[in-house]
Symmetry: none
Subunit: 213 residues, 4 copies
DNA sequence: AATGAATGAGCTTTCATTCAT
DNA sequence: GATGAATGAAAGCTCATTCAT
């Protein structure tokens, strides 16, 4: 059985992605959910309340993945660990991107959202901090190069996913899951190896695998 | 002398950053600019027209920097070239971030903006492509490691700046120019060196390549 | 044991005085009474039905006092008889003032209330008539001056109380019982003696007892 | 030429008297005034603002009459002076009665109205004070009986008019101007002469003074 | 070119009322 | 009798846009 609140949250997610907050009216949400407009106010107080419920719902298992990252230090390979984390991050970022965009368009909503995120220790800054801490720990074990600035690397990795989510949204394109997966792998490979030529690797090897897209 | 259109564009930029599009009314824009509401319609046709004028105005010299990037191939150092490009990119991203947010909140506006950007070859995809082409060229010269996936590296670098701009906006913080400059340098250093320990570290530790497709 | 209907009536009286009908919702009434909203409809049919029950309940012993007034003709003093009657009238007027206000704001409710009052011979006009009849009877006995217009005097006396009740409500002040009592006594004294100087009383006597308030 | 604001004020007065505030919608006001709903907000900010404009407009020349009352001390006859003042008072009270009633139904509006009245020194208390001061001055001249309590007499007189206005409204009756005029004259005559039989009646009958405090 | 009063469609929100449990 | 989630009509209000001056 789907409850009224669930119907409303699902309808809102759908419409937000399709039309953008500014075009999504409470009337339309109720219609799409197949319930009366009043139900929205009964369950969520107001439109903003519903929006925040949608954000919560969008978090999925990202939080859990974030909490477990510290346990991975020294386990498996750094690349695999990063990959797992970024998959979860991207799923989250993809779901919230329509809302984050909308919040930037309304600073009143934004202020309210910021406060909620702060209270729950789940803001964007926190993700960066957790990832940076992980990288630093691996650095101590010698599994990450000493020259690396952990915070900077963490930003680079997470920004990549967030950016991709925003672009998908911006360009109204919809990468399939395999494309997403490959994009994440590519980012990690690039960041793992670094731009500077390695001493041992002769620069004679030409490769061109990534150019046709 | 400041013309009426200039006054309107400046007022809009200010209010967009301060309050977000959803809270910015034509009345408020006119008041802030010190002109009548009707003037807005004389000069820009409608509110969306004004918005697009603001985007154009926000581009600054970024376009020029982008055009000149191919000429830098093989010149100076890769790091310096990237740094110069990212500085200009960030300045642009910082200015447009309030507008990008607003566009994501209103897919009708977004569609119109997308069309304009496509016509002018100035969309976000274009920046990535130009930067990727630059990196590939440097790679052919051996100034960038062979394992690097140019497109992926370009995304990583630009995403970093865009992300930072969005976060500044999201968190209502305002990094000073020096902090911005340092952040960009850090990103480049991190990406240049790569996460994997360099040759000096005994190469016995095998790291998993994530290239299997 | 307090029944559900009693709880609802009390809650309504309280909220009506505190917030005014326009701000009193059925939900709030139910909450204050500690019962479900539906109960209101079981017991009173609709919100207007509840309101009329509150009016009935507010009548207290005023009706009885009114009925007994004719029996007082020629008994005790005119002043004491009037005082007793006005005390009861004021208590009633004080209780109904929030409701009278509300009725004046909604002529649909008002029409319904008017009908009920007419059927029960308890409208405001009836009070004036009863009091006027009493004064006329006393006039025949020579205990009230012959020049007095009984209906006019009755209006003056009742208006005074109604007015005071409305003002208490309007000014959100709350005269204590002693102040009310004194005000009624003053009104009666003033009306008893009349404004015109009495032949026998020399106007040389200065008095100033009432000026500091 | 009738301006938009004037049209709105007139329409509101009409509808308020006919239907009561709770039944008067902004849509209906605009329709009756023959202007767009937005005009209401352009000129008065909100519905409450319009209401206050209606009150101001309803004041007519009452304020002026009130200001001039002190100049009448010792002039003409007390009865005529009172009559003139009460005529103006009633005209005002009659016009505002629909609004006063409505305010009592909505304490939020009421609070705002109270504040405005206080700032303008034009509340109901002020009228009583001015009239009481007049009576006291006449008392010093011996033109009003020494036993009279000026404040109480002032209340009695003004309450009479306010009450009549409320009743006209409550009973949906509409006294013609002559009836109003006569009622006012009757009230004054009654209050001038007083209820107690005059000297011609043997003063042997002791009446109880109710002054003990 | 510039003005700003006027417009009115459409928004979010409220709340008396119903009805399955 | 009692409950309270669900309803949906209708309210106050906003704001991009027009147009006579």
């Amino acid at each position: 059985m789907t409850t009224t609140s669930q119907k409303l949250i699902r309808a809102t997610e759908l419409l937000l992605r399709r039309d953008g907050l500014a075009r999504v009216t409470t009337r339309e949400i109720a219609r799409q959910a197949g319930v009366a407009e009043g139900a929205l106010y009964h369950h969520f107080g107001d439109k903003a309340g519903l929006l925040h419920a949608v954000v919560e719902h969008s978090m999925g298992d990202f939080r859990e993945v974030l909490e477990n990252l510290p346990l991975k230090v020294g386990q498996g390979t750094v690349g695999k660990n990063l990959e797992h984390m970024l998959q979860a991050a991207f799923a989250f970022q993809f779901r919230v991107s329509p809302i984050v965009g909308s919040l930037l368009a309304d600073h009143q909503l934004l202020a309210r959202a910021r406060e909620i995120l702060r209270q729950r220790c789940i803001g964007p800054r926190r993700s960066v901090d957790v990832l940076a801490a992980y990288l630093q720990a691996e650095q101590r074990l010698g599994r990450v190069a000493a020259e690396v600035i952990p915070h900077s690397a963490a930003e680079l990795l997470l920004a990549s996913g967030f950016n991709a989510a925003m672009f998908d949204h911006f360009l109204a394109r919809d990468m399939g899951p395999e494309a997403v997966c490959q994009r994440i792998k590519d980012s990690i490979q690039t960041l793992m190896s670094g731009l500077e030529p390695r001493c041992s690797v002769p620069p004679t090897v030409q490769h061109d695998r990534i150019t046709e897209r």
